[in-house]
């Protein structure tokens, strides 16, 4: 048998699963968004923007703020891991930062729901330590809770990628900058960061796609409106069986991420060459 035929035969079953269980439903979500009572139209979108316009804005704000926080957090942690002068402090930080990486999203949702509530452990501890009085406590189970959950869970992942990229940099430039008296924050921002920017972008983009896919966090932490369009989609289906509007919302989330996904795919293709 010619080798390329054998190769195709070996790849086909895996590809078939991806086509049937990912690409076909993806296509039907796109075509379903434009289908109104059997014909093509924009009715679903009109309804989606009318009913869930606030949710779309809310989603964009949540995802952008979380992405900025994740970026800053991962730069700070990986920067200290790379430039920290005290090996013991670096070792503690390296041991510490990774824990949320393997905590499933559904567990993050549950854990933070009880931790951030008005009666939760965080407020109780702040009261016990005398930093707050009982009347000053407030619940963080709204947009802030979602941002905290995403940042808590995603920062270690981006940090892991970023610290890996920083470790592979040539140390000589960093050493010579230090010898010339440059401060460590300045070395981080002016010398290291420009070189690891592609890795940071890929990590953050993967984070955006993840945040737009996670249903459990907005449903568990923010049980009110406005909410993220992921939760609106689930609500539209569970309460009304309305696939048209749900697919229109899905199309909006695809459009939001495909802008960044395009950058991600281009980057990956370039790296593989």
């Amino acid at each position: 048998m010619p080798q390329h035929l054998l190769g195709l035969m070996l790849v086909t079953p895996a590809l078939a699963i991806v086509v049937l269980l990912f690409l076909v439903p993806l296509a039907s979500s796109i075509s379903g968004a434009f289908e109104v009572a059997g014909t093509v139209g924009l009715g679903n979108f009109a309804k989606a923007f009318e009913l869930y316009g606030n949710d779309m804005a809310f989603t964009v704000v949540i995802v952008l703020s979380s992405t900025v926080l994740i970026g800053l957090g991962s730069i700070a942690i990986s920067g200290y891991l790379t430039l920290g002068s005290n090996p013991r402090a670096v070792a503690i930080l390296r041991w510490l930062y990774r824990w949320p990486l393997f905590v499933p999203f559904i567990v993050v949702g549950q854990v933070l729901r009880t931790f951030l509530a008005k009666n939760g452990l965080m407020n109780s501890m702040l009261i016990e330590s005398g930093l707050l009085t009982a009347s000053q406590t407030m619940s963080f189970l709204d947009w802030r809770g979602i941002i905290i959950a995403f940042t808590w869970k995603q920062t270690p992942f981006v940090t892991l990628l970023l610290a890996g990229a920083m470790a592979s940099l040539d140390r000589s430039m960093i050493e010579s900058a230090r010898n010339l008296g440059a401060s460590r924050p300045r070395i981080l921002v002016e010398i290291i960061l420009p070189q690891v920017m592609p890795t940071l972008m890929v990590g953050l983009i993967l984070g955006v796609v993840t945040m737009m896919s996670v249903l459990s966090v907005p449903m568990m932490i923010n049980a009110q409106t406005p909410t993220m369009i992921t939760a609106s989609m689930a609500f539209r289906i569970n309460a009304y069986g309305d696939y048209g509007v749900a697919n229109a919302l899905g199309f909006v989330s695809l459009a939001m991420t495909s802008t960044v996904a395009w950058v991600y795919l281009r980057q990956t293709m370039r790296d593989q060459r």
């Binding site: 080798q3 390329h4 190769g7 070996l10 790849v11 079953p13 895996a14 590809l15 699963i17 991806v18 269980l21 990912f22 690409l23 439903p25 993806l26 039907s28 979500s29 503690i92 930080l93 510490l96 930062y97 824990w99 949320p100 393997f102 905590v103 499933p104 559904i106 567990v107 549950q110 009880t114 009666n119 452990l121 965080m122 109780s124 501890m125 808590w152 990628l161 610290a163 890996g164 470790a167 592979s168 796609v209 737009m212 896919s213 568990m220 992921t230 989609m233 689930a234 696939y243 697919n247 899905g250 199309f251 989330s253 695809l254 991420t257 495909s258 996904a261 795919l265 990956t268 293709m269």
Partner: protein
């Protein structure tokens, strides 16, 4: 060795690390406390009574955790079998054989990572409904496998690419058939990478919520669905116990692969 107390630079370090430790372990401690709290209400900072009655209830024959746990493990096991079974031939072909349209195939395997999967799951549920797959274990396994397969193919491709070709060529020149060479030489050498990807796919399936929520619920209950319903009903003890059961294998996996997570190892990924 210098004394720590004499170095004033440890003040900002300890403050920063302490704050980070609070941010990371505060919520996790909270989970542990809820899992063993019998009575806990505001304004008490800590539970009033500790005990394991909820654990007994959760795992009693009438409790639904045992069923959900069995479902979760069966689904994750079948997902691993399908994903790895399909990923090994595909990964081998991508790593070793000349393939037409290799770029297109790789792109198709990248796409599921680049799009949010919620709209996809919604429509899978709709398609599965027509075939009677909604609310069945097979339906849930297929959804999990479509997700796990992508990771498994990537890791298998990397594992096969990393092998020394000369060992296979030596086996062939000694007269072994292509299949025999693959089974006796290639597969054992790639086994550690494949095993790691199997564990990863298993955990991804164990923790999966969204796809199960649309395709499986309410007929097929898994641990994440149990956690969600218990939490939504305000039953924080049961939700926390379930969360803890999900957390333990994940953390164990993290500790096992710890040496692979070091920056100097990661910097070689993709080289």
């Amino acid at each position: 060795m210098r004394s720590l107390a004499l170095d004033p630079r440890w003040i900002p370090r300890a403050l920063g690390l302490g704050l980070l430790a609070f941010v990371i372990f505060g919520p996790l401690t909270n989970l542990l406390l809820w899992a063993v709290a019998e009575r806990w209400y505001f304004p008490h900072a800590l539970p009033l009574k500790y005990g394991f009655t909820y654990w007994v209830n959760v795992f009693s024959p009438r409790g639904n955790a045992t069923g959900a746990l069995v479902n979760s493990v069966v689904i994750a096991g079948l997902t691993v079998v399908i994903s790895i079974g399909l990923a090994v031939p595909a990964g081998y072909a991508l790593a070793r054989l000349r393939l037409p349209l290799r770029g297109v195939i790789l792109l198709m395997l990248l796409v599921p990572q680049a799009f949010p999967n919620l709209p996809v799951y919604v429509n899978i549920a709709r398609i599965f409904y027509q075939f009677g797959l909604n609310g069945t274990v097979l339906g849930v396994v297929l959804v999990h496998a479509s997700h796990g397969l992508v990771y498994a193919v990537w890791i298998a491709t990397a594992a096969f690419s990393a092998l020394d070709k000369e060992l296979e060529e030596a086996a062939r020149s000694l007269g072994a058939s292509a299949l025999r060479t693959f089974v006796d030489v290639t597969l054992p050498l790639a086994a550690p990478g494949l095993l790691a990807s199997a564990v990863f796919v298993f955990l991804e399936s164990l923790d999966e919520f969204t796809g199960t929520y649309f395709v499986g619920a309410p007929d097929v209950s898994t641990l994440p669905l149990l956690l969600y319903t218990a939490g939504a009903g305000g039953n924080y003890q049961i939700a926390s116990i379930t969360a803890l059961i999900l957390l333990v294998p994940s953390i164990a996996f993290m500790l096992v692969i710890e040496r692979f997570l070091r920056a100097d190892v990661l910097s070689k990924v993709g080289r």
